[in-house]
Structure formats: C-alpha cells, structure tokens
Symmetry: C2
Subunit: 128 residues, 2 copies
Amino acid sequence: MTIGDVADRTGLPAKTIRYYEDIGLIRPARDPNGYRSFAETDVHKLAFLGRARALGFSVEDCRTLLALYEDETRNSADVKRVAEQHLARIEDKIAQLQSMRDTLTHLVRDCAGDSRPDCPILTDLAKG
Amino acid sequence: MTIGDVADRTGLPAKTIRYYEDIGLIRPARDPNGYRSFAETDVHKLAFLGRARALGFSVEDCRTLLALYEDETRNSADVKRVAEQHLARIEDKIAQLQSMRDTLTHLVRDCAGDSRPDCPILTDLAKG
DNA sequence: GATAGGGGTTCCAGTGACTGGAAGGTCAAG
DNA sequence: CTTGACCTTCCAGTCACTGGAACCCCTATC
C-alpha cells in the first residue's frame, strides 16, 4: 500500500504520515523503488494515532499510548494516568477559554458597533 | 525607564517586550548607551497588549486593536468585528474541547486503572 | 585600578505538530 | 514519447515566545 492509499484510508494527510515516520511513530517498509510500503499493522497504528490526536493527546502522549497498546503486559493504570493528566489539562484549558469568553461576551454586547469611535472593548483593554 | 522596570510594571517578560519591539508593536526610544528607554505611552501600550493577549487575541489582532485604539476616527464597528470573530473562534475551541472532555471522561471512568492490561481507553483508540 | 554583580544588548536555535513548496524520480495510460 | 499523477527528500515557515551564548554598561566594593 502506498502513502496515498493510507492517507485515504486513515484520513491523515500524507505529509503527516511522513512526519510520523520521521519522528519514529511508525516504520513502514520500503519498496525497491523507494516508495513506502504500508502493511495493515501500519494502517492500524496510524488510525490509532489519528484517534488519539483527535482526542487532543500530544504526539508524545500518543507515543506512550502506542507503546502501551503494543505491550501486552501493560498495567491499565499507566494508560489511565496518561488519560487523566490529559483530561486535567483539557479542563484547565476549557476553564481558561470560558473565562475569556465570558469577558468578551460582555464587552461585545456593550459595544455599539457603529460608526462612532467610543468602544467599551478598547476602554477595557486600555484600563484593565 | 529600562526594560526591567517595564517588565515589573506590566508583568510581561523582558524577552516578550523585546519581541514586541521586533515585530513592530512598540518603538521605544534608546538611551545613548543603547538601552531601550520606555516612556509612559510605551508602558501603556504594553499593558494594553498584555490584556489583549490575556483575552486570547492573536498578536495580529492585537496590532489591529492597538491601531484602532490610537485612531480617534475609528468606528467601534471595526473593533466589535475583531472581537466577535475572536469570540467565535473561542466558542469553537470550547466546543471542541468539551467534546474531547466528554469522551475522555467516559473512557477514564470505565478504566480500572489497576495492574491488569485490559483497558477501554486503548480499546477505543484501537477501534474508534 | 581590579573585580564582582546585576543590569542591559544582539543573535541564533528550539518549541509542537505540522504544512507548503521546490526539485526531482517512478509509473501507467494514451 | 509525453503527460499527469503519483512518489521521494529537504528546506522553510507557522505562532508567540523562550533559552542561551557572547558580549557591553554601570555601580559598588576592596
């Protein structure tokens, strides 16, 4: 299977797949002409990576998760820890964004949005 | 005023202040010895930038907002548009993160987190 | 006068996770 | 034989800093 087929099957851009090989997440074989030759296991791993990335895991977390996935002697506790830490980071981020949203919502609501220069958004930024 | 004083007063790292000069957000004067010499207007601008950044505006948005702030003939509509677009991006991001959080919360809840290898998190990632 | 310290200066490289683009090799179809 | 769609590598750019090296400036102390 060539990289284009794999890109179609996994939904990952070919560039991303090459990048994942570059940083050692996958090691596809090569055909005599130099083209990457993907096996089902490669496609499977890439799909795994795609889903982990879609859940927001960092590439390094993905590396860890993939290693755990392939380690039949893993402890689920190790997986859970990675996921919990990630979840905590996400919750922090959500809280941060919600606070921004709340402030912005008020500012936007109070701004006339017309041709006059007076603007509570700028006033707020200028004097905190 | 030297960069260290300004860093203390604005809470921005000196590195960041130099960076903002680099990309043309501020233009502090220079003392004969080559040190940056900040006026109150510079400090004010930096505080403005700090608050805009804290609300999540991109540096380019900050440049726009600062220009609008300094333009006495501005239309508040222009400010409002920038803020609304930013708000929309934030809301998208929140929705995305909440969806991740929901999925992760379920997965984490269902994972035993013990010394056995079985793990619904990995199962989910492996077969989406 | 030498030195130590705590400023300041520039410039270069790295971060994360790709993404775009150039320059060139390979292959099947017409 | 050429066209076009693939594939290859490598380099640069993204965003908003951040760390570090190598060096200059100023004050205080011995």
